[in-house]
Symmetry: C2
Subunit: 268 residues, 2 copies
């Protein structure tokens, strides 16, 4: 029996706790729900390079966590001001190659535990150390090691060249909080430090003047707290890799590819 | 005649185009408007270390661009969830030392041109190259040089150790867009690339999945565009330095100190 796009969307909805109804971001952006699927490419963000890789792999359904037009909102959001030449060229490429593109954002976050957290914990090999899953964070208790040792482990496991850090990384850390994606803001991260007596937080992305400045002040008052910033992409890619594994078990009839995306930044 | 806090607040309001009425963020957070001013400390963010420096300099009025409790909103914003031990210790330090703390955020942005842009352009020595001031960005046209040469200039002038970059920095750049602070989002920055035919944008901070991903795709389509991310603090400090210079000219009777803040991040 031919696999169609809708079959895959149904499987994704079944993975989200409560389904994907009301998941505003999750939409079939291009293609048709009745279209036959030749292969699936799963990725953090369907950059132009990822789309080209999907085509060369023979996959005509691309599942992207982040929006493909440089905004959480589709087609440039409210004012559509940045719908320009690059946007148009990408749209044309998608149409010419008959690609279906599905944005799967909220649904994976809605899994319990959050699919991104699960992927990140697996990739870090920290599943055995989880003491509590909160809605937007997980608390792990590691064998005692320095912040620098943890940073080295994280870099090696996630393939990250360098991490942005705040605090005293020579201190011993045991209680660690993890937040995937753009969840590093003060309102989420700061109470974790105090309520859960955390030594260290790792998050994907967050405002620079919030949690980092809290850690700077905490250190000044003599508390041995620290922070490692993974990068948004780096913190959420493992979740998409996990999703690709799951889909490949569900759909043996078509190839399912996980397409890794390089860090968007170089350091100069 | 004794200088009081209100005199300084009046001078700051006079610098903002249209005054500071309606500038929600700009408030006297601590201290009293009638308090005599012994000295003024002007800074990007009144970290605990900055407060201690102000005290040791004999300054009892601190002017901070960013909120001093790790949030754009005062006292932790809506849910006040992160009003914890560090917050309390800082509040106690301020009270014990009789400090007045004024948040000056929107007012300096309201200057024409934006005070942060003016400070940044001065610090980069690019004032002579401005071709247009937009409400939230400025366009400069530099003598042709590579993106890497521009990065080296920016690092040296602003004292930044390394910059996050996207794109081909070996390409020649002339038309450059500058955005200070958290103005790197796609809705603001992406249209500038296309409308103003920019080769390069420099911004303070912005969402990682927006403008950086746009530049990555633009490069894939053969456009020679690039991006340099300065850091929020690094992009706005020069504006506070400029403000300190202006205040020291206005108030000869008390010392006005500009207190520089180190980058909040280390690289590990």
């Amino acid at each position: 029996m031919t696999l169609i796009v809708q079959d895959v969307l149904d499987a994704l909805a079944a993975q989200a706790s409560g389904g994907t109804a009301g998941c505003g971001a999750d939409q079939l952006l291009f293609g048709d729900a009745g279209q036959a699927v030749s292969g699936i490419a799963v990725t953090f963000i369907a950059s132009q390079q990822v789309l080209e890789q999907a085509v060369s792999l023979g996959a005509n359904l691309v599942i992207s966590h982040e929006g493909i037009f440089y905004s959480h909102h589709h087609d440039g959001g409210r004012d559509k001001a940045h719908v320009g030449q690059v946007h148009a060229a990408k749209k044309q490429y998608i149409a010419e190659h008959g690609l279906a593109v599905y944005r799967f954002h909220d649904g994976l976050h809605r899994q319990q535990p959050d699919g991104f957290m699960e992927g990140l914990l697996q990739e870090l090999d920290w599943e055995a150390f989880v003491v509590e899953h909160l809605p937007a964070a997980s608390i792990v208790e590691l064998p005692s090691r320095t912040g620098l040792e943890i940073a080295a482990h994280v870099k090696a496991r996630l393939g990250i060249g360098s991490l942005r850090a705040v605090g005293d990384l020579s201190a011993q850390c045991q209680r660690v909080g993890l937040l995937a994606g753009y969840r590093g803001g003060g309102a989420l991260a700061i109470p974790l430090f105090e309520r859960y007596k955390l030594d260290l937080i790792l998050y994907g992305e967050g405002p620079e003047w919030e949690t980092p400045e809290y850690v700077r002040d905490a250190i000044r008052f003599g508390a041995a707290k620290s922070l490692l910033v993974l990068g948004h992409l780096e913190s959420e890619q493992p979740g998409m890799k996990l999703l690709a594994d799951r889909l490949s078990q569900l759909f043996a009839a078509v190839p399912v590819h996980y397409v890794d995306v390089d860090s968007v930044f170089d350091l100069v």
